[in-house]
């Protein structure tokens, strides 16, 4: 692995990521404008653990949409131009790490009342100082964690 702070130009996908981001923005906009709901995925999932009458089905529907999205992309694969391919996902972390990370993410996002979608996208788009603090906090913790695991402890 190369050392030093340099941009990985071979894997950097500015246009695809910008386009994907715009799709996230469109989805977020649709949900707030039509349903009056903030698209914060961990909050939507957590609402199912504390179900309230008449407040469950839309959550299930949205999660089903997320889960079904790879199938839609696969179905549209025929039309994908050759310059545009979605890379096969790669999960580097070992099983116990994945499980531990899942638990921390579950607890942490509930205490923070939001995750990357709720604070990072919706909160920043609402110009919420609270969400800005949350986003800076989880970004900083993410940067530090990856620095420690990949450059100090060499366990990832």
């Amino acid at each position: 692995m190369r050392r030093g702070r340099r941009v990985d130009w071979t894997h950097f996908t500015p246009w695809a990521s910008l386009l994907g981001g715009i799709l996230l923005g469109i989805a977020t906009s649709l949900l707030i404008l039509f349903n009056g709901r903030v698209l914060g995925v961990c909050g939507i999932v957590a609402g199912l653990l504390r179900p309230e009458r008449g407040d469950t089905l839309w959550r299930v529907a949205l999660i089903a949409g997320l889960v079904a999205s790879p199938w839609l992309v696969r179905g549209l694969a025929v039309f994908q131009p050759t310059w545009f391919t979605i890379a096969a996902p790669q999960i580097d972390a070992d099983w116990p790490v994945v499980a531990g990370a899942g638990i921390i993410v579950g607890v942490g996002t509930r205490y923070a009342n939001g995750c990357t979608s709720g604070h990072g996208v919706c909160g920043l788009a609402r110009l919420s100082p609270r969400s800005a603090i949350a986003t800076v906090s989880f970004m900083a913790a993410g940067f530090l964690t990856v620095f420690l695991t990949q450059h100090v402890l060499h366990i990832a």
Binding site: R2, V7, D8, H11, S17, L19, G20, I22, L23, L24, G25, T28, S29, L30, L31, L33, F34, N35, G36, R37, V41, V45, A46, L49, L57, A64, G65, A68, S69, W71, L72, V73, A87, P89, Q90, I91, D92, A93, W95, V98, A99, G100, A101, G102, I103, I104, V107, G108, A112, L124, L127, S128, R130, S137, F138, A141, L144, T145, F147, T149
Partner: protein, 162 residues
């Protein structure tokens, strides 16, 4: 203009479509791939700035929707617009976010991409989502404990579950 009770299934259809578009967005952006997310968090390695472009694109669109939503009381399908009201910056907010960031940095997953990867049939994503639900349930349990304790301390007879 809008008829809230006439077509009660419409909000659910819209929620499904929203999840679908969001998931496709994550896949197109490369964010359903933990390796790419970690490449963004790896500032000291060969850095992949893609995630910043994802956030920029998403916020750049959503900022207009929220500015418009703030001026309205009801959504286009008739339900009230529910925007977060809390403005408090608390230790819970910061410590919770830090914990989330640590988990994010360990596996490269946050909740939405994990659900997309689960749909993609990745066993590790299944493990992550189940563990995340366990973590969320643990939070609910801890909260119910502290609520119960608070109720005992103030000796209020009526417990009001949220």
């Amino acid at each position: 203009m809008s008829q809230p009770t006439a077509k009660p299934f419409l909000p659910h259809v819209l929620a499904f479509a929203t999840g679908l578009v969001f998931g496709v967005g994550l896949l197109v952006a490369g964010m359903a791939d933990p390796h790419k997310v970690l490449a963004f968090l790896n500032l000291a390695g060969p850095w992949d700035p893609s995630l910043a472009f994802v956030m920029g694109g998403a916020i750049g669109v959503a900022v207009f929707a929220f500015a418009y939503a703030r001026k309205r009381a009801t959504a286009l399908l008739g339900d009230p617009i529910r925007l977060p009201t809390s403005r408090d910056i608390t230790p819970r907010l910061i410590l919770g976010s830090v914990a989330f960031g640590v988990g994010w940095g360990l596996a490269g997953f946050c909740p939405a991409p994990a659900l997309v990867a689960l749909g993609n049939g990745q066993p590790k994503a299944v493990v992550f989502v189940v563990a995340m639900l366990v973590g969320m349930a643990a939070f609910e349990w801890l909260e119910s404990l502290s609520t119960a304790r608070g109720t005992l301390n103030t000796s209020v007879n009526a417990v009001s579950p949220r």
